[in-house]
Symmetry: C2
Subunit: 334 residues, 2 copies
């Protein structure tokens, strides 16, 4: 790889799925860090469902990526040419480095990671933001009690796979929802969930009823749409719903109706809360500590789906998330 | 009035609006109270939106009214023929006495009220369950802070009218939504809300934006449908939504979609909670004390819409709730 940067910059806002045409992907001169800065040679870029929302020109929890700007992305890489007192050449770091080969950083929001404990790509997956998202969604938002039934959609994905495993650590019954028999077998046999329902199986509601003989106490929602709607109808009295993502609607060109079972919120006195991992920044160290301990103790089974193709492959690889084409945390290798 | 009972018993479950044909309304022999019981000569029956749900054969927060049973209703009346140690002939009492002229009670859930402080019908309205519903929805569910904007739908109704007045007592900006200029003028000029939006005015969203220059912090929802959907889109970060009722959907014969702005729960990190007044039974005395004090101090403007016609008029009068035909707490005089 030559020492020249290559970056994906937003050219036009997409309608529906984003495509190669929404980005300028081109070589750029390698920038030199100034005082208090360093350069990161990026090895892996995290591809996350929220990225689709970041390119909409709409009010959301972060400002949209501007036209001409490098596409926002969490990534992991190695520090070089450091002129920053706290980061040394050779450090492996994670941060919002963008979809490119090299980033200049002043260290804001950058975290050093220990590659002797887990490979770089895991620090932007199960041990990074997705893992912490799962952690906070259970420990701070939904707060299941031991013995309760926790259902999570996209159960084989980056967040969902950790949700079920933490739910088991918390003494709950963990039930996943995933697409296809292969993913479902992975969720139960490798991740240790108590059950997994195949939403492509044609009998979602009946299968959920069978998998949750005592109803649903906690729903950790990543998907939305029909899956969410069906789960709402099966919630127990005083159930809690943590809305982490609604990926099924992110690419829709027309307004998407909310759940037909919305009235379940009233009838069952549900508590429905939206959250994102950034809401809990002050508690990241606590989450990282627990995730690290569970990982070291062999209690967290984490799977990445690492794709080749570098920066040029970004739009196509990202879209795997919205077509259920990935299996495990989706990562783009640079 | 002759001393013979007349009762409305559920004959057939309705599809859509309930009608006279869903009930057997007939004379019945006057029952005599047994030991530990008393008879109530009912003067006023409370007509509440939830009643439509009580006749569906579906899981809800209370069991459905059974076929052949007297229609469930809160009512107020005078004790007679008492054989109960705690209730004396002449006491005015409220309770779940049903849609009939006379009820037999063992005192469970029955509350004595003081007609020197307010007329009987007010004790099943602003000082009864509707008033307490407003109280708990604000004090226990949504919990607005001083200076925040509280929006309530059905603002001229039994619950909504009290919500806005309590919100003002709590130091909030109170914004109502009601149907038609007459009700809106009542909400602002007589109840003292800061603003009221006419949902029939044809520009609901623009009018809400104008009435809530700082957005919506707390939404107290009684109606649902388009009104709820529009409010969701205007919620502030970490807003709270108390779902008290979704009356716009109660008579629908087909499934009703949830709000198109459901994603606002995630983006704005809303907390959406369903509740009913029965959830707070242990705190009724506290609510009653506060409501009584505010009423005595002239801080609660309460309006009843008392209709004649007795038990026979029950289905037609109840339906006024679902067609916005009432103005103030709807009460049927026996």
């Amino acid at each position: 790889m030559s020492d020249i940067n290559r970056a994906a910059r937003l050219k036009a806002r997409p309608s529906g799925m984003l495509t190669r045409e929404n980005f300028d992907i081109a070589d750029e001169a390698l920038a030199e860090p100034g005082d208090g800065q360093f350069r990161v040679r990026i090895s892996h870029i995290s591809l996350d469902p929220a990225m689709r929302g970041w390119v909409n020109d709409a009010k959301s929890y972060v400002p949209p990526v501007g036209l001409g700007e490098v596409m926002r992305a969490i990534a992991v890489g190695t520090v070089e040419a450091s002129r920053h007192p706290k980061f040394r050449d050779g450090d492996t770091v994670t941060g919002l480095f963008g979809v490119q080969r090299f980033a200049i950083s002043d260290g804001a929001g950058v975290i050093k990671v220990d590659t002797s404990k887990a490979p770089p790509e895991r620090w932007i997956g199960g041990l990074g933001m997705p893992g912490m998202t799962a952690y906070f969604g259970l420990h701070e938002v939904a707060v299941p009690n031991p013995g309760e039934t926790v259902v999570v959609s996209a159960a084989s994905g980056a967040v969902g796979s950790i949700v079920g495993q933490i739910a088991k650590i918390m003494g709950c019954r963990a039930v996943g929802i995933a697409g296809g028999p292969e993913k479902c077998a992975y969720v139960t046999d490798e991740l240790g969930f108590d059950a997994c329902v195949d939403y492509k199986g044609g009998s979602l509601r009946d299968d959920l009823v069978a998998a949750c003989p005592d109803g649903i106490d906690v729903l950790f929602e990543n998907v939305g749409g029909e899956i969410h709607d069906t789960c709402l109808s099966l919630m127990n009295f005083r159930g809690r719903v943590a809305i982490c993502g609604l990926i099924s609607a992110y690419n829709s060109k027309t307004p998407v109706p909310g759940p037909f079972n919305y009235r379940s919120i009233l009838v069952n006195r549900l508590n429905v809360r939206g959250f994102i991992v950034f809401d809990f920044i002050s508690q990241y160290p606590q989450a990282a500590k627990h995730l690290g301990e569970w990982h070291a103790a062999g209690k967290l089974n984490i799977r990445e789906d690492v794709r080749d193709g570098g920066v040029d492959a970004f739009p196509d690889v990202l879209n795997l998330l919205y077509t259920s084409g990935n299996f495990g945390k989706l990562v783009l290798k640079v």
